[in-house]
């Protein structure tokens, strides 16, 4: 029962067949995926997923372990070339324009990926620099960022010695430091305490308000409620996609937990 709700404008787009190029370019979708598939040998990790994400939206990407979330996200980030299907990220093609995609996105992986042997400020400077910001811009923005995060006294602290919650907030801030149009977050709050998770989501809302599209995977169902829309992946396919409210109605569930159980129960791939 694939209930992939496609936004009306997209329906219009497909119904009309051809639209003037100008209108396509003005399309509000920053992520468009159509029948995106990734196979590893005989194994189909991601099976023909289609969805669209609007600019500034917080899009939750849910699914059990092994459902194919990370693989799908890696394709969208230009880290992995799809086996078939189409997708554009910020208007760039996932097959041919991976490097242009990379210029326009931010990425925070499951594995903590700032340099632990560099200080807070050095990490900010490095990642700002490789996205093409000038040293002057970096200095101004870093100052502002450190104040916002309350890390001003710690700019010369090695990242390795920060508490995990701080590291994660810093990693997120570094991922959006170059003001990308989309930021991909792969289980960003794993292992973080509830208070810090709350603060983390404040940061996500702030980024979303600033027009940055947030694409986030999570296992926490309370976090799922914070998203504008959610997709549920089961065995490499998107089995449901809607707002948290509508999903709960649709599955006659009281909470997102129940929705998740309802959908994931039928999964053939066992989690790890």
């Amino acid at each position: 029962m694939a209930i992939v709700r496609i936004a009306p404008a997209v329906n219009g787009y497909f119904a009309a067949g051809i639209l003037p190029a100008k209108e396509v370019a003005m399309s509000n979708y920053v992520i468009e995926a159509e029948n995106l598939t990734k196979r590893f040998g005989d194994f189909t990790a991601v099976n023909e997923i289609s969805f669209h994400v609007e600019k500034g939206e917080i899009f939750g990407f849910l699914g059990a372990n092994g459902a194919g979330k990370t693989t799908a996200m890696r394709m969208l980030c230009g880290l992995s070339i799809p086996s078939s299907g189409k997708a554009t990220i910020a208007g760039f093609d996932v097959y041919k324009q991976t490097e242009s995609i990379k210029q326009n996105i931010g990425y925070m992986s499951q594995k903590f990926s700032l340099y632990e042997d560099l200080t807070v400020l050095e990490n900010i400077t490095f990642f700002g620099g490789i996205y093409g910001l000038s040293r002057k811009e970096i200095a101004v923005k870093a100052d502002q960022l450190l104040h916002e995060l309350g890390l001003f006294d710690h700019e010369n602290t090695l990242v390795g010695s920060l508490p995990l919650g701080w590291k994660q907030k810093l990693a997120f801030s570094v991922a959006i430091f170059h003001e990308p149009s989309i930021v991909f977050l792969d289980e960003p709050t794993g292992g973080v305490d509830p208070v810090t998770r709350r603060q983390f989501w404040d940061l996500i809302y702030k980024a979303s308000d600033a027009g940055i599209t947030v694409f986030v995977t999570t296992h926490y169902m309370d976090e799922a409620e914070y998203c504008n829309r959610i997709s549920m992946m089961v065995d490499g396919e998107i089995k449901a996609l809607d707002t948290p409210e509508n999903l709960k109605k649709q599955f006659n569930a009281r909470s997102m937990d129940d929705v998740f159980f309802e959908l994931a129960r039928g999964a053939k791939r066992s989690g790890d």
Partner: protein, 373 residues
């Protein structure tokens, strides 16, 4: 260019923040250059000699005296029983037995000839050969002395003697260190180039930061250069430390050739071996894999590079391995330029080959580094 400056800043900071690595960079060249040339010496000394002196005459005493005075042999005991001496060989106390038979002196004088017997423990072939040869020479020269003693009055000796005088070029004192030290310098920069680069990149894979790098618009060439340049600098530093501090102060080696040319070659050589390090890192996922791979290749590079054994003496198939080995060109280059003072015209071939290696390994490394799978 601007991106590269950020990348380099990061690499240098990380390297200089690693105290173990820094200590290694300084200590390793000094210690290795002090120990290896002294240990890896072909000159065989301290050969343990057992003498079976059945004759116990003046002549036999003199001969034994002469042998021990040569400095190559240590007389571990004199006995009259060959069996006893042989038991010393079995117990590994003796390397060589010299048997002086009964009536050695008498037969030598009366019959004008006598035989000596040598039994050699040939487990260590080199030691056995050299020991046998040294002993043979000493006996020959003793033989000549005895002859001269017998014919003091005759103006013309009954047997014409050819005397040989030789002049040793490029290393007049036949100092073995002069041969080894330039080679060990090459060994050091090879280690820096392959191990350090390979481990550095694979560490980023293990920690997961490479994923973060791959998702940025960094160009493959910039990333590669940023990994190469710090180790190029370290390699040049290690070489300089070895050449100007240890080689000069400890061994008194002053390069006979042009220093600028040595550095030009070092630069090209480092780029080649750094390329090898990059390649190894592209094909390994963990530091353990990278270490094992690097160990395998460095081992072959060094043993087939003419550091310890002469390439000229290798079988043809092995020579081909040596020809495909960048290490052998640098070792040869160093010996030619440092000891012989060869000029660019003499080593033009070496330059051409190393340029080829540099281009080959690095092109392969940049191509095989994949940001997208």
């Amino acid at each position: 260019m601007k991106t590269l400056s950020f990348l380099l800043q990061k690499e240098f900071k990380q390297i200089f923040r690693n105290p173990t690595l820094l200590r290694l960079i300084i200590a390793v060249p000094i210690i290795q250059l002090m120990i290896l040339p002294l240990a890896a010496d072909y000159e065989i000394k301290n050969i343990n000699l057992a003498v079976v002196d059945v004759d116990k005459s003046r002549y036999s005493e003199e001969l034994i005296q002469k042998i021990t005075a040569s400095g190559y042999f240590v007389n571990i005991g004199t006995t009259t029983s060959f069996d006893e001496a042989f038991s010393w060989i079995e117990e590994d106390k003796a390397d060589l037995i010299l048997e002086i038979p009964e009536n050695f002196e008498r037969n030598l004088i009366r019959e004008n000839k006598e035989r000596l017997f040598m039994a050699i423990n040939a487990i260590n072939g080199v030691k056995a050969n050299m020991g046998g040869a040294y002993l043979g020479q000493i006996i020959q020269s003793y033989n000549a002395e005895v002859r001269m003693e017998w014919i003091p009055d005759t103006k013309v000796p009954p047997m014409p003697t050819i005397s040989i005088s030789s002049l040793n070029w490029f290393n007049p004192s036949l100092n073995y260190d002069f041969f080894m030290v330039p080679g060990i310098l090459v060994f050091l920069v090879t280690m820096v180039g392959t191990y350090m680069t390979a481990l550095n990149i694979v560490k980023e894979k293990e920690v997961g930061t490479i994923e973060q790098i791959n998702v940025t618009p960094i160009k493959k060439l910039h990333f590669t250069l940023a990994k190469l340049i710090p180790f190029l600098v370290i390699g040049i530093f290690v070489f300089t430390l070895g050449l100007f501090i240890v080689a000069r102060l400890v061994y008194g080696i002053v390069p006979a050739g042009n220093i600028g040319m040595i550095y030009a070659y070092l630069f090209l050589y480092l780029i080649s071996v750094l390329g090898v390090g990059l390649l190894l890192s592209n094909y390994s996922q963990t530091q353990q894999q990278a270490m094992s791979l690097a160990f395998f290749f460095v081992m072959i590079f060094l043993l087939m590079g003419g550091l310890f054994t002469s390439i000229d003496a290798m079988p043809l198939w092995a020579k081909w391995i040596a020809y495909l080995n960048p290490v052998s060109y640098f070792i040869d280059f160093m010996r030619l330029v440092v000891m012989k003072g060869s000029t660019f015209a003499d080593v033009k071939h070496h330059f051409m080959v190393i340029c080829g290696f540099a281009v080959f390994f690095n092109t392969w490394a940049v191509i095989s580094y994949k940001k997208t799978s």
